[in-house]
Amino acid sequence: MRLNAIVMIKRIYGLTALSCIIFLTVSFYIWQNYKPFFPPPNQIKAFKTSAAQDILALNLGMRRLFADLWFVRLMQYYGTPEDGVSIYKPMTSEQAKAYGGGKYPDFFLISQHIIQLDPYFKNAVLYSAACLAFNLRQPEYAIRLLNSALEYLPKEWKYLTMLAAIGYSKAENPEKVASSFMPLIKEADCPVLVKQLAAFLNKKAGNYANAYKIYLDIAETSKDEYYVKNAIKELHKMELKNKSR
């Protein structure tokens, strides 16, 4: 009876020791071979009062979700007119011409914050870079943004295409800019803002067939009411022009 108890105790100690050794070996192997693929915490710069949220994003393993939230905030920020004009009132022709433009001083900072949280958020990178370069006339910030995103996805051809488009726009070559956008807009996840830009630039460069195709694509696939309405309006205009010829 006593012998049985001793054997039992030895077995329990043995099992516990064995589980301890296995655990430490596996844990050591996992940690040694673990390569982080997100930017280290010192590269995340808090935007205004975002520090607490950033910590939460890291602690809960939800960087992607928080990057999504910041992207929604960025769109809301950019969608709010700077001059205090209500978005619910119809725009005058001058306001419509200037639509999308402005200063938006926090735009680059918010975009940068999104990339610091999730550098693989391609749509946010393209959206922000296109806005900065072509709408807000801040191409140097757009290039900075694309370069920081390229650090994590160096072979991403969409970023390189956007960089090329910005380069052509700096050289004041609208035709090249318009044609450089074409491979981008064929992608399913291309931001509607980039499509809109491509259509506008193609129209400006006299490539009406391409512009018509892009507007048609926006009208059929986009969920953004503003862009859909605008695309339908442009399509009507182009059809009328074609008929009058």
């Binding site: 996992i30 982080p36 602690n59 693989y120």
Partner: protein, 262 residues
């Protein structure tokens, strides 16, 4: 003889498992949590609509994040009270007065918690897929793998919580320590970065101490499922690490449980 004994052992585990699972599912908190998580996932539709062209991404991310959080809250709480409450209410003595091996009882309890985590994820996951279908979206890439990896995280934290419940003084302490380990586990890249910045003895000490923190980033596919970095979620590594944690915490828990007076 050995075959019969094994069969008897498995029967005990199964009966403990069935009883425990019924108990967890009948709990009022379970119903509240399921309703709340379904409501939260439904409410994520609003954020999705605000994201306009990124609705699919936002809906998927919010749904996955919320279901992980809800499942974590319930599993940790249930694991914290699984054995300690039984001792407190003295109901465990009714079971252990029969010829029930303590480790079989513990194993039955742990397995029931693992199955409970799977039930919650399957339920919430199905609801999210219905919502996505309702909004006209396709099946998210690697969705089943993301859910499986979330389940693995929950299984690890559940085993740790059970072990902690044996050594801590109260349920609240157990839940707090488990939550800290959950957050530290997700802090893995940052922990490694900070340790690399230290030098000397402190680095050696920290390098040893992080072995005792579960690396949950290994299972966090929901953060990078469409980036083409899926190679980082090595299936073999993930399963081996899960077994190491479950085996170790079960070993220690069984050791303490055996030594506890019944």
């Amino acid at each position: 003889m050995v075959y019969q004994q094994t069969l008897k052992y498995i029967k005990i585990i199964l009966s403990v498992f069935q009883h425990s699972l019924k108990e967890y599912c009948k709990n009022k908190l379970f119903a509240i949590l399921i309703v709340f998580s379904l409501f939260s996932i439904y409410a994520s539709l609003l954020v999705g609509i605000m994201a306009v062209d990124q609705e699919f991404r936002v809906l998927t991310d919010f749904g996955l994040g919320l279901m992980e959080l809800m499942a974590f809250i319930y599993i940790v709480y249930m694991s914290a009270i699984a054995i300690t409450e039984e001792f407190k209410l003295k109901t465990i003595y009714l079971v252990l007065s029969r010829p029930v091996p303590k480790n079989a009882y513990l194993l039955g309890r742990i397995i029931s918690l693992f199955v409970l985590a799977a039930v919650i994820l399957l339920f919430a996951g199905s609801f999210q897929l219905i919502l996505l279908k309702f909004r006209g979206f396709a099946y998210p890439p690697l969705y089943h793998k993301i859910l499986l990896l979330i389940w693995m995280k929950l299984a690890i934290i559940s085993s740790i919580t059970i072990f902690l419940s044996f050594i801590s003084t109260s349920v609240i302490t157990t839940v707090i320590i488990s939550t800290m380990l959950w957050t530290l586990g997700h802090f893995a890249p940052e922990t490694k970065f900070l340790i690399e910045k230290t030098q000397g003895i402190s680095q050696i000490f920290l390098k040893f101490s992080y072995l005792l923190i579960p690396n949950f980033q290994l299972y966090n596919l929901k953060d990078y499922y469409d980036t083409g970095l899926n190679a980082y979620t090595d299936n073999f590594k993930a399963v081996t690490y899960l077994f190491a944690w479950v085996f170790a915490t079960f070993g220690f828990s069984a050791f303490i449980f055996e030594k506890k007076e019944s």
